[in-house]
Structure formats: C-alpha cells, structure tokens
C-alpha cells in the first residue's frame, strides 16, 4: 500500500499560556455537556429517584405527617428534593473523573499542555451546568405539588441550584482526586453524601428537633444550600405563620436567623475553598 500526502498544514506547539489553560477549561466543560446530552438514559434514570421520593414517599408520608398546617407534605418536600437532585447529579458528575482517569479522556488531558487546575475548573463548570439542567427539568413538576411557576422564584431557584452545584462538584472532584478506584465511590457516598443529605433538612423541617440533631444540621454545609431553596419556594406560597414556623424555620445561630444572602455567602465561600482544595489535590496526583 502506498500513500501520497497532499501538503499537510503542520502545527507546532502551543500551550503554556493562560489562553491555552482557558481553552482547556472550555474543552472539559463542553465535553461534559455533550456527554450529558447524548446519555439519555442517565438523564431519565437520574430523574426517577427524585420523582419516586416526591410522589411515592411524599404521598405515603402525608398520611402520618399531620402537623403540616394546611401545606401538603409534597409541597414541603419539593425544594428539598430539588436539592437532592442537584446533590446527586453534581457528585456523580465529579466522580466520573475517577473512571476517566483510569480508562479514558482524562489520560489524554493529563498529557496535554494545559494546567491541571483547568481540568478541575472545567469539570466544576460542567457539573454545575449538568446538575442545574437536571434541576430545571425537575422544576417543571412544580405545578403538580401546588408550587406556582413564578418567574422570580424560578430565577432564584436556578441561581441557587447553580451555586450549590458548583460547590458540590468541587467537593466531588476533591474526593475523586484522592480515591483510586470506582469501588471507593460507594464508600464515599455512604460516608459523606448520605449524611450530608439527611442532615440538610431536605427531607424534614429543621424545627423542633432534639438538640444533638440541630447541632449536626448546623455543621452540615448542605443545610445552607437547601434552606435558600425552601425560602424561595415558601415566599411564593400562601402559608399561615404557623405553617411557616413549623416547615420553614430557617437556620439560626444563637437565636439569629441567617438571612438568605448570608447562607448563600456561606455556600459561595465553601465553593471557593473546595475549588481551591480540589485544584491543589488534583495537581498533586503525579
């Protein structure tokens, strides 16, 4: 077999500049989006869990949850389940880095002339976008549980979901850069993700809890991401003060109820710290 080559445009080395690192960020981000858009099964299966929680568990528990003061238990659960969707989508998205490192694309990224931090940043943007889209799809169900499609509320929720998703993906990447095998992923889920989820107030109101549990919920960073979601929803509902107090008590430090901007500030600071830590941890993987 013989071959002749036409004039080949050759390219010689780029890289090492900030522009090339930013291109790296964009490549990782866009790849994440393409993968998400092609993987319909993933999109659908990841909606099954929140739907089950909302309609099966929500309906089932409604019969015993009598103290909801006129508010449907499903309505109460709705913002919490948005949080759950964002939590699991973000963390799973970040965890794919473990798989990629062993078998795929990441190995090619690691030998490319881009800095490691750009991979982390791209991954965080990717996880943020994917989780937010997933959350928005779930938001479409708002009407079925008596939550109005108020534009202001929707905008608030999308912004809060994006911030929360970014922080959680950064957290996921930080963990992923320290674990070597996919099997460890189960462990991580059991040790970090589930406790974080249960303590966040996504599934039950943070009012009237025993002191030890209240203390734990305040340590859980996810609490400060879930509460703004609930505030956004409840501020657009017609709720009696009693119901508001029981179902949406907010988070208080020494009797001072944290305003939403403060809670979002906490999440933003967490996001920045986790991102920094993830970048450092990921760059250290030889």
């Amino acid at each position: 077999m013989t071959m002749t080559l036409p004039a080949v445009p050759t390219v010689r080395e780029a890289g090492g500049s900030l522009a090339s690192d930013l291109r790296g960020v964009r490549v990782v981000w866009r790849r994440e989006l393409i993968r998400f858009s092609r993987d319909r099964t993933r999109m659908i299966t990841s909606l099954i869990q929140p739907v089950l929680f909302l309609f099966i568990l929500g309906t089932g528990l409604s019969s015993i949850a009598r103290s909801t003061a006129g508010i449907s238990f499903k309505t109460f659960m709705f913002p919490g389940i948005i949080g759950m969707t964002v939590l699991f989508t973000s963390v799973f998205s970040a965890m794919s880095i473990v798989w990629d490192r062993e078998f795929g694309f990441l190995r090619e990224m690691l030998v490319a002339p881009v800095k490691r931090w750009s991979i982390v940043l791209g991954k965080c943007f990717g996880g943020m976008t994917v989780a937010t889209i997933q959350g928005v799809i779930f938001l479409c169900l708002a009407g079925t549980v008596g939550v109005p499609y108020s534009p202001v509320m929707l905008i608030e929720l999308v912004g809060e979901m994006a911030l929360m998703a970014f922080a959680l993906t950064a957290f996921g990447v930080l963990i992923a850069s320290r674990i070597q095998q996919m099997q460890s992923f189960q462990v991580v889920t059991q040790f970090f993700v589930m406790p974080m989820f249960f303590l966040s107030g996504a599934m039950f109101p943070l009012s009237g809890l025993p002191e030890w549990l209240t203390a734990l919920t305040k340590i859980d960073p996810l609490t400060y991401a879930v509460d703004p979601l609930r505030e956004a929803v409840f501020s657009h509902l017609n709720v009696s003060p009693v119901a508001q107090h029981a179902l949406d008590p907010g988070v208080s430090w020494n009797g001072w109820r944290l305003p939403v901007p403060a809670e979002l500030g906490i999440v933003a600071v967490m996001a920045a710290l986790l991102l920094g830590a993830a970048m450092i941890a990921f760059s250290k993987t030889d």
Binding site: P9, E13, F105
Partner: protein
C-alpha cells in the same frame, strides 16, 4: 523494512508547508538545533523495592524511529510515562524535544504526541469531536484545523465516519483515531505505547503505513514500545529491555548480526556429495536437515552468489534464514520473550506498573 533517511522527503515537506508553518509557529518555537529528540541519562524509577526502570541511558536522533522491545512488565510503559511527563523519575534526567521532562513539563507536553496502549478516545463523542477537542487543547489555530483534520482523517480512512460516535467503532478504528489524534498537532516526537497490540495483522500493517507516511511527511521522531518481534523491524534502532534495563541497543541488522550467523539450506540431487564438496571447496561444515543440506555463514545473502560460483554444485533451491529478533532476545537474556512474560518477575513489574498508572 530497513530505511535510510531520505533528505528529499524533508525538502519536499518544507517547500509547500513552510509558509503555513511559519505563520503558526510564533515566538514559542525555538529551533532545537542539533540536540537529539530524546536524551535519557541514567533514568531510574523505583516503586518501593521494585526498580521498574534502572539506570537507563540512551538517545534518539531527530527523525529516527526508535523502538523499545521487551516482554510485558519489562519497564517499557514506565519509561514512556516518564518521557511523557506523566511519571516523575526517581533519579536521573531526560530531555524530550529540547525540554527537561521534570522541570519543563509544559514545553515537553506541547511538543509531543502520545498514543496510549489502552484506548482513551471518548466513546460518547464523534470521531471529529474527539479530534476537535484535542486541537483546542493543543491550540491548533482554527484556520489550520479544517484542512488538517480532513487530511489526517483521510489518512487513517475515517473521514467518512467522522460524524459517528466512537462507541460504534471497532478496535482497529479506535486505534486509528487515536493515532490520528496523536498526530493532529504535529508533534516533534510521537510516542506510541504498543500501537498495534490486539489488532489483526491487516490493521497492524495499515497502521504501520500511516505512521511511516507521517513520519516522512513531517519529519517527526517516533518512540515506540512493542513486544511484537516483527514490529521492531520497522525501527531504525531498537533497545531491548528486560527487567528494567537495556540489554542491547542497535539497528535491527546489527543486533541480528551480533547474535550469529545466517542459516542456509540448499536443495541438491546428491546431498552426501554436496556436503563433501562444501567442505573441500569452501571449508564449510554442512549437515543434513530434513532433506536439505544446511550450514551457517556470517552474511547469508552475500554468500549465496559465491556459493553458486565456488561450490560448482547443481543447486535447485536455496533458502536463507536470518536470525530473528526473537533469537536476539534469546541471545541477550537467555529466555524467549514468551518465557520472560510468563515469569514471576513480570508479575511484580506488572503490579508496579498498575501502582504507577493509578497515580498517573
């Protein structure tokens, strides 16, 4: 199989391409002058007590195809990972394409291409998306990308399948795409880690044609690892590596010559008489072997004409068998490559490799 570098090829390449290259090069490209493409100086990689690579030194000239031949677990992948900046050497130094693999990682990465042993193309993306992402990572300018993409994809015969998701590709197609990707950004040095492992012979032959075509067109240096003896013959020079050390280094010809003589078998009507005649006229000790008269000489192909003239025998068939690289490996290590792969040390090395790859 043997090739000498043809300066005409380089000339051809520089004429039509120089304009475009010059535009792209920019300030970052520095002439590397006469510095070899790869210089390795007493490189060692240790995992605990296991030395995957021990005290290895060699150098590869620009434009050369250099092969690392050895059994699985001999240290080939560890070596390639260190040269590609994916693994930090325990001691020693290495320079690739004019930059130090530890202190100037970024420079090295921009100047090399790497084709991995296991496929790393993204299954969820199309062939073209895979290459486009790669081009962005390496800063291939948009103006150059389109023609370059077409050219490379046509070369590996995937142009028609460019819009297909890689998931639907066969193993051979994936490897071809992988090679296309490694070459897309015109690396100065292309690393191929077992480029044809697991492929059928026809695909293997094709892949060698692509590699050869591009090597000539772009004057790149190729560093490859293989444990296929016949593939090593595509190289200008070969280092035979066993247990982390180079046990022999030279051209395939030189290595084979060092191992021993060529075996010549002749078919004659009267074998007994021929054996006596060979002894008397040429001083050769021949023996009978499966109906043929067999003997050993230093340079078989050159000896055959002499044989006809001087032996004056009525020869009706001749067979010259040159020593294979398998014989070479055997001669230097006392084992066949199969034996070496099956041995216990291999498992230790393989473990070390796995350990290494997890950290890479």
């Amino acid at each position: 199989m043997q090739r000498t570098f043809d300066p005409g090829v380089a000339g051809l390449k520089s004429a039509p391409l120089s304009v475009q290259t010059a535009e792209i090069v920019g300030a970052e490209r520095q002439p590397i002058g006469e510095e070899p493409a790869i210089v390795v100086d007493r490189l060692t990689k240790r995992y605990g007590d296991v030395e995957a690579v021990r005290d290895v030194s060699f150098s590869v000239s620009v434009g050369e195809t250099f092969g690392f031949l050895g059994p699985n677990g001999a240290g080939k992948s560890t070596m390639i990972s260190m040269l590609c900046t994916l693994l930090r050497p325990t001691s020693g130094h290495a320079r690739v394409a004019g930059a130090d693999v530890v202190r100037e990682q970024g420079k090295v990465r921009g100047r090399i291409g790497l084709v991995f042993q296991d496929p790393t193309v993204d299954e969820y993306l199309t062939a073209e998306e895979n290459l486009r992402f790669h081009a962005q990572l390496y800063g291939v300018p948009a103006a150059v990308l389109a023609p370059r993409l077409k050219q490379i994809l046509e070369m590996v015969e995937l142009w028609d399948r460019r819009g297909d998701v890689v998931q639907n590709f066969s193993g051979g197609m994936r490897r071809r795409l992988e090679i296309a990707r490694g070459l897309l950004h015109s690396p100065r040095v292309l690393f191929l880690d077992e480029p044809t492992v697991g492929l059928d012979p026809q695909t293997r032959a094709h892949i060698w044609t692509y590699i050869e075509t591009l090597r000539r067109a772009e004057h790149i240096t190729i560093f490859l690892t293989t444990h296929y003896m016949d593939e090593a013959e595509h190289c200008d020079r070969i280092a035979i590596i066993d247990k982390g050390e180079i046990v022999a280094l030279g051209t395939p010809e030189a290595l084979k010559e060092a191992v021993g003589q060529d075996r010549i078998e002749i078919g004659v009507p009267d074998p007994e008489g021929a054996i006596a005649a060979l002894k008397a006229r040429l001083g050769i000790d021949a023996t009978m072997s499966e109906g043929m008269v067999a003997f050993y000489v230093d340079n078989g192909e050159e000896f055959v004409p002499r044989l006809f003239v001087e032996s004056k025998l009525p020869i009706h068939s001749v067979r010259v068998a040159r020593p294979t690289l398998d014989d070479v490996f055997m001669a230097y290590t006392g084992r066949t490559i199969r034996d070496a792969e099956a041995s216990g040390t291999e498992q230790l090395h393989a473990m070390a490799r796995r350990f290494g790859s997890r950290r890479s």
